[in-house]
């Protein structure tokens, strides 16, 4: 299994490196803006201008994961609201589906998986290794982003600061939300051997839960989804409130359930080789 894991990290290494470093570097702009008063005021004024009127529109606020309008003027608010929700989960969900498709269902379709399938490994080993990657890729990448972003916070004089511990808690909760969508995509790709199914289920659930999160103020059904089964809804405010066992359990239980469904399908089917 270790050799296969090594293979799975080696083959898409450029993809993994790009996703690990590039967004982290882009996100440096957030803390760096608070190192210079003119950039800081520009950032805040731009947001105020761009989002004018949004403070009175709950749906628009929810679309960007903002529960409190004042949050958009603080470093903590920017990082822990619309960066962690919805951008991190959407990016992690998409990246996980792309990566696991490359190594799983898409690889079956294009034939590269035939080489892997001929190696002396059980289907269980293959699926287990892929599951490890599906879960830890999103976690690793998100922690890389926030840690890159934290470098100026820790080393420079900023007008506002962030606490490392709470930021990591928010990172974990935000990453797990994205992982839950990515894993569902991976699981259905593995269940069917079709990469389109990975997008249909993983992307589909992400879209439904994102909509439910955005429209929860307009409809009891969406509110129920957001409160009870949505990974977005489970995010809460981990930076201030810490990790909440019930929220963590919901997301982890969903990940475990999706992985189990994928395993049942992958173990008992013919490969979808071209």
């Amino acid at each position: 299994m270790f050799n296969y894991l090594k293979y799975m990290v080696t083959v898409p290494r450029k993809f993994i490196l790009n996703w690990t470093i590039a967004p982290g570097l882009y996100l440096l702009i957030l803390p760096l803006a608070f190192a210079n008063s003119s950039v800081e005021s520009l950032l805040i004024d731009t947001q105020r201008e761009a989002f004018r009127g949004m403070s009175e529109n709950e749906t628009m606020m929810n679309l960007l994961g903002i529960s409190d309008w004042d949050n958009v003027f603080t470093l903590e608010g920017m990082v822990t609201t619309y960066f962690m929700i919805p951008f991190v989960p959407i990016l992690i969900g998409i990246a996980t589906i792309i990566l696991l498709n490359k190594l799983g269902s898409k690889a079956e379709e294009d034939g590269t998986f035939e080489f892997v399938a001929a190696l002396p490994m059980t289907r269980t080993t293959v699926y287990l290794a892929q599951s490890v990657l599906a879960v830890f890729f999103g976690l690793f990448v998100t922690f890389a982003w926030t840690n890159i972003m934290f470098i100026p916070v820790a080393t420079m004089e900023l007008s506002q600061t962030l606490d490392y511990g709470p930021l990591m808690k928010a990172t974990l909760q935000g990453a797990l939300v994205g992982v839950s969508f990515g894993v569902l995509g991976f699981a259905f790709g593995a269940y069917t051997g079709k990469s389109s199914m990975a997008w249909a289920f993983g992307g589909g659930l992400m879209a439904i839960e994102y909509l439910a999160n955005s429209l929860k103020g307009t409809n009891d059904f969406f509110l129920w989804i957001d409160d009870n089964i949505s990974s977005f809804g489970a995010y809460g405010n981990p930076y201030q409130d810490g990790l909440i066992a019930g929220d963590l359990f919901l997301v982890i239980a969903k990940i475990a359930l999706f992985l189990s469904i994928g395993f049942i399908g992958f173990r008992n089917r013919s490969l979808n080789l071209r």
Partner: protein, 229 residues
Amino acid sequence: MRYKNGKGVEAINIAVGNGEVKGLLGPNGAGKSTTMRSLMGFLIPSVGTLSVEGINTIEKSVEAKKIIGYLPGDPQLPQNLNSKSLFKLGADMRGQTTDYAMELAEKFELEVDQTVKELSKGNRQKVALILAVLHKPKALILDEPTSGLDPFHQRTFFEIIKEFANNGAAILLSSHIISEVEKVADSMAVLRDGSKVYDETYEMFTRQAAEQGEDIEDAFFKFYDRRES
């Protein structure tokens, strides 16, 4: 084994003895690749058993794959890895060294530092062939193994196959070209529309052809025609 479109293979019983090279022939779509993929456990048969050296390839897939070397009909390899890395991976997964792979790479005049993306079709085929045999398997399942190889390296390939057969390996290789099988096979099975329609020693096939005053190729085509009528 049936696909959703109703095509597939059925009631195929093929045995290959130790040291025997069996050619699996048939036109495109006859079921050669499906048979081979079923043998590898990639496709799960609705009925029947598949075994290599007495090991059921579905139930004990790891044990079976340790002693089987498999070459896909259209080998697709990760584009950004070089041959050396692929050989190392294949060898590591089987607890072997890459010594034999490097020896074969030299025989095939293969540049092992080039990535798969940089290789020609023929050279990619060589990489896939080496990956299939680097652990010196007891059984070889080769789907159209000479596809893309130039005549010189086809000869090298046939020498390797003969060496494996002399060492007692059971070899099943598919082709749709009778002259290719002629060079190396002891016996041949013919598939058509998912069923086995002929399974004899190559010697018997040539004798039957001679009795009818036909060359090998004509006899092979006639054999197909006869079943059609």
